[in-house]
Symmetry: C2
Subunit: 344 residues, 2 copies
Amino acid sequence: MNQIRRLPRIGDVAEAAGVSVATVSRALSAPEKLREETRARVMEAVKTLGYTPNSVARQLRAGNSQLVLVIVPRRSNPPFFSEVLHGIDVTLAEAGYVLITGYMEGVDRDLRLIELATSGHLAGLLTTSGQLPQVAGRSILDAGLPAVAICADPQVPGLPPVLLDDVGAARMQVEHLLDLGHRRIFYLSGPTGNYNETMRHRGIVDAMRDAGLGEDALVEHPGDYVFSGGVAGAKAYLGLADRPTGVICGNDESAIAFVKTVRSAGVKVPGDLSVVGFDGIEFADYCEPTLTTIAQPRFELGAAGAKLLVDLLAGGRLTDLLGGRDRMLMQGRLLVRDSTAAPR
Amino acid sequence: MNQIRRLPRIGDVAEAAGVSVATVSRALSAPEKLREETRARVMEAVKTLGYTPNSVARQLRAGNSQLVLVIVPRRSNPPFFSEVLHGIDVTLAEAGYVLITGYMEGVDRDLRLIELATSGHLAGLLTTSGQLPQVAGRSILDAGLPAVAICADPQVPGLPPVLLDDVGAARMQVEHLLDLGHRRIFYLSGPTGNYNETMRHRGIVDAMRDAGLGEDALVEHPGDYVFSGGVAGAKAYLGLADRPTGVICGNDESAIAFVKTVRSAGVKVPGDLSVVGFDGIEFADYCEPTLTTIAQPRFELGAAGAKLLVDLLAGGRLTDLLGGRDRMLMQGRLLVRDSTAAPR
DNA sequence: GCGATCTCTGTAATCGATTACATGGATGGT
DNA sequence: ACCATCCATGTAATCGATTACAGAGATCGC
């Protein structure tokens, strides 16, 4: 049903070349074991028939796969993750692996991912989500696949994360605003409980404390990294009696919606209010005004995470690969643009 | 190497339940053939051991796969395609299939996709690219997999496309500007040769002609659907001696960059100039001014394309499924926002 | 009471590759 | 001339499931 036309098998090639199937197999995977002339004859037949090994059969016998599953939350900031996936894809391709994207959302869906992981199809696992598929007591980790987390930390032993130094990046956001002369900051956070959010929150609080500012200098409002949360955050901000002049948003998407909303209400950015975003997506350079933000090395985060998994699959030991640490941290970069200025 | 821990096999379950492997297999895939008591005993053992069938082995024997490959150009408008992929994913999941995303870019990469297609892993193929992987005389279609194109038309017999009615949508763009009173239009196109571009261009030219406007009423500039092309298009526009008051951009991304650039040069939108985009991505509602655009039913396009493939895999005949036509067309919707107004 | 029929379960072939082991022919040393 | 060695290739077991076919009991009709 699936195949319209019957594909050639190894036996067909063997017959055409007048050799055994073992010889065909060797011609493809261990050519040095064959006489040059035999090998040439086999390759000729391979070409004529257009033969490609059935990797399902190969995988069943050899027990190893070329497929790596990347778990991506379904609603996950496409402009950001597309670049991370690009880095993953390029790195896996170089190492001979193929990327499978698995979108995670509901319980049913997650069960499917768990089954895929335990199905024998996969060589390894990457996750960009801190929450892993876990249904009815079964976890995706039960499959025992080598795994790496990218831009997320599921906090599972043996599942090393490759992360941005969120604490340091958040400090940079605060210090930038303080350097400009702002003394009170409104923080539109990410989702409560989210790992990145927790770290960034810590960086902000630390930086405020180090600057000698009291608790009332920081006004927090819970957000969720999406447009609608940016709008809601802006409305909350506009409702404040005594508005801080500095605003830090959990990511660029919510920052862009925040700015749009306060401007509609007549608030000038950066005149009345300076806004700093997080992520460094391309749109942040085309909104009005262009957004000061933290650029994450998105491609590099993906590439480093994929490289770590590839090394793990090649038999590397985690402690060696991470130099004894339990995670890999990369640095963000502050991009100063038009949404921040000294307060009036 | 891949598996850290040995996963239970069907034989282990059979032993634990005191039955044969055939009985275990039947308990899972044809429970009605078993006595209730036997089935219960087997399921008990399955649960205790945490057994999941190895689908590589199943696939080898049964010859059918649950995996569908979606080919996505690597640099492809993430805010747009993420929603299309969402529609595909939901639909495939409902039908019991798993989505694999294959990013297409270079020649090497494409060879990998071709090999994946001929490897026996896949049930079917979806493409969101008009150009299909084709390396050294081998095409990805050689695998003989059922395939459907979404938002693209490779113009290959037997590969039905599910598309937006680009011609009609482009007419809507023109008619909107003409209705407002604009008489000359600057068109920042998509990449030359691109299928969508060809259709939209036709719609624009037709609409202008139908309105009785001459050839000099349309000024065309080649674009490429990305930010940088929008900036370049804006510079070209600014350099014109006699600037049209209406602008149509190939997509939202380039429209947003276009607007940003002309505004930096002091041109007022929509005061001096009205701009219409294409796609209806979320950002179009958060830029300054909000962008009048054509909303594509992105989720629905993905879902319809996936549904068509699922029906094809179930043995449906193409002519029946398409009602005798050779393609499936969906309609765009004009979203009138703040970037368009009557000319001064 | 005995064969026919039906229900349930087991035996073994099969999917398409990989690979340990066997084999046969060539080479070479004594 | 004979045996050891080596190289190239073939034979057949194997991976883990599915399923056609066979066989063993149970049920039933006459």
